[in-house]
Amino acid sequence: MRYLPLTDTDRSEMLAKVGASTIDDLFVDVPEEARLDGPIHGLPMHASEMAVERHMRLLSKKNLAAADAPFFLGAGAYRHHVPASVDHIIQRGEFLTAYTPYQPEIAQGTLQMLFEFQTQVAKLYGCAVANASMYDGSTACWEAVAMATRVTRRNKAVLSGALHPHYTEVVKTMAKFTGDTIADSSPSIQPSPDNVGLIARIDEDTACVVVQYPDILGRIPDLTEIAEAAHAKGALLVAVNTEPVALGAIKSPGELGADIVVGEGQAIGVGLQFGGPFLGLFAVRDPKHVRQMPGRLCGETVDAEGKRGFVLTLSTREQHIRREKATSNICTNSGLCALAFSVHMTLLGEKGLRRLAAENHRLACIAADRLARVPGVTVLNELFFNEFTIRIEADARQVVRDLADQGVLAGVSLGRLYPQVEEFSDSLLVAVTETTSEEDIETLAVALEEALS
């Protein structure tokens, strides 16, 4: 009970002050039949710091950490090196334990950081305005669809078949309840994405087209032609990016005509964390769409002495003011993850991000070339950044499990992502980052060769 500072003497004095003889006098409004007397059955009593740490460490050791294996998993979560100073800064109590900056006079640290973060994201995405972050990429994707229906006053969304299937599932789940129509394209395995088939689905009822860039198979779709087709029908293009490092090497979605750009920022600064917390990024190309955006926004202003300062702004869109008429029910952001992203991005800068992206791409090219030489392996992609798909003439799910038993984390089998698509069962998504060594690539190639022989 080391976190509870009251002593028994304090408690008696305080009970006297409030005019209660026992603590239960303060719980009189709780119906007696529902009140719990004594400890709850089946739960342990308090434990020391040492005991808790030991328990958690034992659980931790039952997991194979990415750093302890040749590691090739991606599919929406990427392992990158995070400089030590990033974690140092986010552990500063003034950031870690601060509240939402609703009192701007004593929250300028968080607010200035958010303003810088918004600007970094807007530039990275080629957009005018970014918000102060969302829960994660998948929920940001749904919020983009919801925003597009507000902007266009149409209620149909056309999803690319190469959108991350979990993102597709989130959008379809939410749409079931809001009454929006979702037209999703069937996923297909081809060296290039099927833009023609996607464009054919856009019609006069379409609020938005949602395209992942690079897509779930690692391919790079031509957003320009999709944007033109969408705009010709009065629809918006929502571009989804799950690997922000890619944007250090390829053109930004905004530059290619996307109207709303959303994505997952985890790859920069945040770490894998078994899937969360992650960092949803959300930006719009046209500043006039700002008032339809979900989530928090930080803006510049001045204080009573004329000094520049920052505040949360445009909150009339939000639930604490608009209640049932709010643009979204979201009342949080991923503040600390946004800080990690911003610090890492500041350490990288333009030069560092470009070098990081180039190194990712260089190693991915080496991996693709090496794996292509493994008998029974075909590299699918024509174009890719740091992730590509291979076909391995075997059940990739089984191969992934077998290789894991040998201490090699080989990638994400498409069979796990698409259990219902039989033709994907022999395919494997392989991601390579700067943390992958050429030795790791060789280990994977040899292990695959053995598994397929």
Binding site: Y3, M56, I89, G93, E94, L96, T97, F274, E305, L336
Partner: protein, 535 residues
């Protein structure tokens, strides 16, 4: 650098009218240890980087025509510059590590560093959500162990762990209700929300395509049971209740409310944001609740991080459990914890899941922290948490009710938060002025103007991690500013005087939004960011 700094501070404007800052203006804009800090865009360079990475070599590219040729416009800082920039920014923040946060409705309590240490163990921090299950058994056990605690503490039947924040959890609960109603072919359209509910509740119901109707509070600060009963009918899908409610009171009639709602064929959603007031003392399941989210940062002390991330697991009654979203964890008879996803949910009998709310498994980093906190307290400690939180809040209520209007003080003890109003303040002085004056006393202000049922509301929640000495000092400070507000001290209108910034112009920010940094038009001949050389 030609200007002292680029933070917008102008020495010539420092002729203070308030008489509080009569010292000479400084050349730098800094005041002793309080340093002004420019934006990274004003001090960074395109050619500066704080990370050693190999130079870009000419090689084979598989990027085709998509290779980026335009600059992005991202400034870089070296590592020492970066550490200094963010450390300076951090010092402009108030935080729980610096002092009491008397926030009602948004619990801010001590954040143990053990939890940070645990969350960073490589087996939790450095594992991928799609690793083969055999390589993440420990991570799945953490999720399941936390889930089991939540079920036992709430007396509920199932739990959805994936929602990423409290409001996301609310949405999850309401969607479970919608799915359960649809499964029985019952298309209901209305969700009833009491006035004192959190603003997210009506937003959530509306987002799930329900029509929202308000239910008034009675004079006692609780849900008007008769008004609620009168409105129930075959069109009401659910009632969303916050208990303890946002007036800081326990809903005495909770069981009667649940019974009435169930009788009318609806479900009861309980906003569990205030669960810390009753953890170990009452189980919501025993009160007839069907779904309740738990804000892990509030009850189980994961750090707020300047606005997030949060985590909002949702406990569900037996009627709603089959509809909870994927993925979820399940322990089989052999003691092994499995992850159920789209491909294997049927093996675990979970065929009615309403879908998926997020890409992966929820906020693992919050789960490890919350579980560490729970294990540290144990069942005995968690009960003490609720008792101390409630005792501390009542101590504040009774220490201030002679001075500040306390509208529900006569309705009995408060739970974990004490509610005051602005009645008696001198003409022209508001709750906002009192809050800003409290900043000068070294405190973060309490929650203001919420709940809406009390004029000029001030909602104070001390939490269980404050000592009596810390409460006494806070009470003295609050009495001081309250006396000034009652007496009509006009100087409060200009507060705060000593914060890193004086009162900020929020109207200008909203009227002319500046939401990103834009390079100022340079004087002729000045190199732009992209043309600047290394530093």
């Amino acid at each position: 650098m030609n200007a002292p700094n680029k933070s917008g501070w102008k020495p010539e404007m420092n002729a203070s009218e308030d008489g509080m800052h009569n010292g000479p203006a400084t050349v730098t804009g800094n005041r002793a240890l309080m340093l002004e800090e420019p934006l990274i865009f004003e001090i960074g360079h395109a050619e500066t980087t704080g990370v050693d990475l190999p130079e870009i070599s000419e090689g084979r590219s598989r990027l085709g025509s998509f290779a980026r040729n335009e600059t992005i416009g991202l400034p870089g800082l070296t590592e020492p510059e970066t550490v200094r920039h963010y450390t300076r920014l951090s010092r402009q923040n108030y935080a729980i590590d610096l002092g009491l946060f008397p926030l009602g409705s948004c619990t801010m309590k001590h954040n143990p560093r053990l939890n940070e240490k645990v969350a960073r163990m490589p087996g939790f921090a450095d594992v991928h959500p799609l690793q083969p299950q055999g390589t993440v058994r420990g991570a799945l056990e953490v999720i399941n162990e936390l889930a089991e605690w939540l079920l036992k503490l709430t007396g509920m039947h199932g739990v959805a762990m994936s929602p990423k924040a409290g409001a996301h959890g609310e949405l999850c609960g309401i969607l479970c209700i919608r799915a359960a109603l649809e499964a029985r072919g019952d298309a209901r359209e209305v969700v009833l929300v009491p006035e004192s509910a959190h603003g997210t509740n009506p937003a959530t119901a509306a987002f799930a395509n329900y029509r929202v109707e308000n239910i008034p509070a009675n004079e006692d600060g609780r849900v008007d049971l008769e008004a609620l009963k009168a409105r129930l009918g075959p069109d009401v899908a659910a009632v969303m209740i916050t208990n303890p409610n946002t007036c800081g009171l326990f809903e005495r009639d909770m069981k009667a409310i649940s019974d009435a709602v169930h009788e009318a064929g609806g479900f009861v959603y309980c906003d569990g944001a205030n669960f810390n007031a009753i953890v170990g003392k009452v189980r919501p399941g025993d009160l007839g609740v069907d779904a309740m989210h738990i804000n892990l940062h509030k009850t189980f002390s994961t750090p707020h991080g300047g606005g997030g991330p949060g985590s909002g697991p949702v406990v569900l009654s037996e009627a709603l459990s089959p509809f909870g979203p994927l993925p979820f964890t399940a322990r089989t008879a052999d003691g092994v914890v499995h992850l159920a996803e789209e491909e294997n949910a049927a093996e675990f009998g979970h065929t009615q899941a309403f879908g998926r709310m997020t890409a992966f498994h929820g906020q693992m980093g919050m789960f490890t922290r919350a579980l560490s906190y729970i294990l540290s307290h144990g069942a005995d400690g968690l009960k003490q948490v609720a008792e101390d939180a409630v005792l501390n809040a009542n101590y504040i209520l009774r220490s201030l009710e002679d001075l500040l209007d306390a509208p529900f003080a006569a309705s009995g003890p408060c739970m974990h938060e004490a509610l005051f109003g602005d009645q008696g303040f001198a003409e022209g002085l508001s709750t906002l002025d009192l809050a800003k004056a409290l900043i000068d006393e070294g405190y973060h202000p309490m929650t203001m103007y919420f709940p809406l049922v009390v004029h000029g509301a001030m909602l104070v929640e001390p939490t269980e991690t404050e000592s009596k000495a810390s409460l006494d000092q806070f009470i003295a400070a609050l009495r001081g500013v309250a006396e000034r507000a009652l007496a009509g001290d006009e100087s409060m209108k200009q507060a705060p005087y000593y914060a890193p910034r004086r009162r900020l112009d929020e109207t200008q920010a909203a009227r002319k939004p500046v939401l990103a940094w834009h390079e100022p038009a340079p004087p002729a001949g000045t190199p732009t960011l992209s043309e600047q050389g290394g530093s």
